[in-house]
Structures are given as C-alpha cells and as structure tokens.
C-alpha cells in the first residue's frame, strides 16, 4: 500500500511535467501547425538554468522565476527562427525546430557538461496514507494545476487568448479581422518556452536532468499532447497524468528502464485509436 501511494504520487508529479511540456506542444501546434521538436530542450534548459542560478546564491523563487523567463525568451527566439519568416510551410518549420534541438543539446553540453544536474528543490517530506512523500512532488502538482487554470483563464477571457484561438481556428479569417497571425505564432512559441521551462524547473529537483533528457521528456510530453489531439490543453493534462502514473508503476513493479517505452507504446495506441479524429482535424 505504502509503495503504491508512493508510486502514484511520484507518477502524478512526473506526469504533471509531461502535461506542461505537452501543453507547450499544443499551444504551438494549434496556432502554427508546427510540432516543436525543441520542446524537450526547453525543459532541460529550465532545469539547468535553475540549478546554476540557485547555486549562484539567488534565493528560491527568484532563481526559478528567472529560469522560466529566460526559457520563454529562448522559446520566442526559436519561434523567430522557425516561423518568423512569413509563409514558411509547417514542415520546414518542423525541421528547423529539429535542428534547434540538436544545437540546444550541444549548447547544454558546452555550458553544463554531460553529467546530470539537479537543482535544490523544496526539501523535506510528509506522510500521506502512511507513505512518505517528498514535498517537491506535491509542489509540482500544485504548480501544474495553477498553470493550467491560468492558461484556461487566458484562453477564455483575454483578447490575447481569443486572438490565439482565432488564429488556430482559421488563420485567414483571423487576418481579415486584424489579427497578426505571425505574431500570434511567436507568442505561442514564447508561451511554450515558459511551459517547457517550468516543467524542467519543477521536475529537475527530483529527477536529475542531463543534455540527453530532452528526448524522453519530449516524447512523453508529445504522447500527452497526442492524447489531447494536439489541440486540447485539458485532455493533455489528463494524458500527462495517466502517462506519468503508468510509467512509475511500470518502473516500480517491472523495470525502471521501460518508462520511455511505455510512453511510446501508449502514444502509438492513442494515435492509432484516434487516427480518424486527426484526419477530420486536418480536413478543416
């Protein structure tokens, strides 16, 4: 029982970071039709930055915030490279993001070396249902839920959210009513940078990150996004949590090295099962 609760909590925490990374995929894909391959690198960057900043004596809260903001700026830069030129086809942009992710890995090795890095997080643990749970893992869940609530508010209430949704729904019509669709694409990339960075900052204290963590994180995040049809942030959250829990249960009861394979398998199953809805989506 204790074991199970432990696995569930760590699964939910890990799944939260998948959901954050996945929502980054969703935000960018909705507006630009581009799958941002560099989304995992943003999470790694976030974790590395917060480790260095906190190690450089920045207080907790400030160090993490600066790391997330820098990731947002890096996301914006990625956007400028990938979709900044008017009329770039989504497939070309996708290749650009793939190139950026390779470059980012190199940059991360250059700046932080090859060893895994783990910033200090919320210390201590508490007992839930007889199981000892690290407080950092709870922080991840709470921060993720708050972020998704904020996202929902932005999308439903603000002009920015409506403009993003309109650009996603019909770019031509959005231009007709005065929305700068290209700028909305850049905003989406910046937002994806913030979400990816936040995921890295939150997950790194419990799961050390290295330059090669970007692919497993991106795959799991993408699987969560696929669960949301690459359009729904809420279903991405659900998908991410399920994936995290499934991964931790596999790691706990079977073998820890199967985690990424579980994510891949689930993604395949979901994609095949939902292939019809994808086709319908493309046809619109």
């Amino acid at each position: 029982m204790n074991e199970l609760v432990g696995y569930l909590v760590s699964g939910v925490a890990l799944g939260s970071s998948f959901a954050l990374i996945g929502s980054g995929f969703v935000v960018v894909h909705r507006v630009t039709r581009v799958v941002n391959f560099a989304q995992g690198s943003l999470a790694v960057l976030g974790g590395m930055l917060s480790a260095s900043l906190l190690g450089g004596r920045l207080p907790h809260g400030v160090g993490e915030l600066v790391a997330v903001v820098v990731c947002g700026a890096v996301g914006l830069l990625m956007g400028i490279l990938a979709v900044g030129r008017r009329g770039t086809p989504p497939l070309i942009s996708l290749i650009v993001t793939l190139g950026i992710s390779l470059l980012a890995s190199a940059a991360i090795i250059w700046l932080w070396g090859q060893d895994p890095v783990s910033p200090p997080g919320l210390s201590g643990s508490m007992t839930i249902l007889g199981a000892s749970v690290e407080r950092q893992r709870l922080l991840v869940l709470v921060a993720t839920l708050l972020t998704f609530a904020a996202l929902a508010l932005v999308f439903s209430r603000s002009y920015l959210g409506k403009a993003l949704t309109a650009s996603a729904s019909n770019p031509f019509a959005a231009r007709m009513v005065g929305i700068d669709v290209r700028r909305m694409g850049l905003v989406a990339f910046a937002l994806a940078g913030v979400l990816g960075g936040l995921a890295g900052v939150l997950v790194a204290p419990t799961n050390a990150l290295s330059f090669s963590s970007d692919l497993p994180l991106a795959l799991s995040g993408f699987a969560a996004a696929v669960f949301g049809g690459l359009t729904s942030p809420l279903r991405t959250l659900v998908g991410g949590l399920c994936l995290g829990v499934a991964g931790q249960l596999t790691a706990g009861y079977l073998n820890g090295s199967y985690q990424t394979e579980v994510a891949l398998l689930l993604m395949l199953v979901i994609m095949i099962a939902r292939s019809k809805s994808f086709v319908a989506e493309e046809a619109k």
């Binding site: 603000s158 309109a166 007709m176 009513v177 005065g178």
Partner: protein, 256 residues
C-alpha cells in the same frame, strides 16, 4: 476615401487586373460588376491585402496601403465579406463577432492582456456591441450556437456582423447575395442601404445586376481585368462596351 491608381496584377502572362483606376468617395456605395473572370475578386483581394499589386498604388484616406499586410489594413478599417464562409468554426456566433470587435477597439495585444482592471467592463461593452451587430443581421437569437452549425447564407450574414463589429471605414462585399433566397436578398439589400445611410463606404461586387443598379449611385464595370465603364447605373447599362462584354463578341456580331 479609397484611391486605386493604375493597379495591375498578373498571374504568369495573364492579367487579372490591368491599369485599374478607381476613386471611391467618402460615404459612397459603389457597385462593381463584370462577367466571370473579369478580375473583381482579384481587385478585392488587392484592396484587402490578400495579394499584392505588381504595379500601381492603393491608398486609403491618403495613406498608401498596398504594401501593408492584410491584418494591418483590417486595423485601418478595411473589412471584407467573402462569398465563402471565413469564420472561426469552434467558436459561438457571439464569440466570432467579438473577435471582430476586439481587434479594432484595442491597440496592443500584450497591453490588452495586461489591462486586467479594465478587462471586465470592456468585455461587457464588447459583448453588447457584438450582440448589437448580430441583431442588425438578424442572428441574435442564435448567438450561443457554434458558427459552423449555420447554413451557408447565414454564415455570410455572420461575416457581415463580424465586419460591422470592427466599425469599418470601408466595407468590401463580395457577392453577398449569391445563394440567398429572394426574401433574404431583400433583407440584405435593406441592411446594405442602412449601412450606407449611416456613413459606411461600401464597395459591392455582385452578379445580380438588378440589385447593384438599385443600390449603387455609381457602378464600375470590369472586363478582362480592365475598367471598361464607370458611371451611373443608366449610363453603364446602356454603354455599348458593357453590352458587348456581357453578351460576348460572338453574340454582338450575331445581333448586327
């Protein structure tokens, strides 16, 4: 209001528009007619910014707009209603119209996102404006329904409502009556008359020549990308060049 000066646009060797010159006065309702392939739609796309001219210039109230992207022209007050549906399918009718209103009433996107204290009141005002625009096109009772649930004729009216919400200075209507039943046509004609009366400058492209001649004070006729006549409805319909364009050269010779 609108000055189009010797504008040309060609695709390969084919001119869709050639040396088109038109001056539309403030508050005017100008009709544009012409046979299929005359270049009417290209002209609209050039004005709205969905294509760029190869030569010539387009100015709105003295400001050159022909190099501006489409969204900037929309912000300057150029609204276009296409024949086909150009809506936001996932959103309700009211939301569709609100998006049209937002982009004109607010300056910067980020500034708007940060101005939370004003947010609620402004949101209410925008909603009221959107509801008003829906009422003017007779769609208010459907406000909460998703836009893609509407039949085509009403989707076009929704486009008109969305355009109105942006308080356009220049409204481009591309065959608004096509596919409408006769009662819908007369409602549309009433709406256009009312918009004209309240000071909106309107360019109306229409296949229904009867509708254009009854609404517009002045009509330009396009044929093979050129303006072949420009005058009052009576002048234009009796112009031999126009008759020839509409009947085709073969018919013209046969009539002799």
């Amino acid at each position: 209001m609108l000055t189009i000066d010797r504008v040309s646009r060609h695709y390969g060797g084919v001119y869709a528009n050639r040396d088109v010159t038109l001056r539309v006065a403030d508050g005017e309702l100008r009709g544009i007619i012409g046979p299929n392939g005359a270049g009417k739609s290209t002209l609209f796309n050039l004005i709205a910014g969905h294509t760029r001219p190869d030569a010539g210039s387009i100015s709105l109230a003295g400001q050159r707009i022909d190099r501006l992207p489409a969204h900037s022209r929309a912000r300057l007050g150029v609204a276009i209603v296409f024949q086909g549906a150009r809506l936001f399918p996932g959103m309700s009718l009211l939301e569709n119209v609100m998006v049209g209103a937002h982009s004109r009433t607010r300056a910067g996107v980020l500034a708007a996102a940060l101005r939370t204290p004003y947010q609620r009141r402004e949101e209410r005002e925008t909603q009221a404006l959107a509801a008003d625009c829906l009422e003017r096109v007779g769609l208010l009772s459907w406000a909460a329904r998703p836009a893609d649930s509407l039949p085509l004729g009403q989707q076009r009216r929704l486009q008109v409502a969305r355009a109105l919400a942006g308080r356009p200075r220049l409204l481009l209507l591309d065959e608004p009556a096509s596919g409408l039943r006769s009662e819908e046509r007369s409602q549309l004609a009433e709406l256009i008359t009312e918009l004209h009366r309240t000071g909106t400058t309107i360019l109306l492209v229409e296949h229904d020549v009867g509708m254009v001649t009854s609404l517009a004070q002045q009509i330009a006729v396009l044929d093979l990308g050129r303006v072949i006549a420009d005058g009052t409805p009576d002048e234009v319909t009796s112009d031999p060049a126009v008759v020839k364009a509409y009947l085709g050269t073969g018919a013209h010779h046969a009539a002799r």
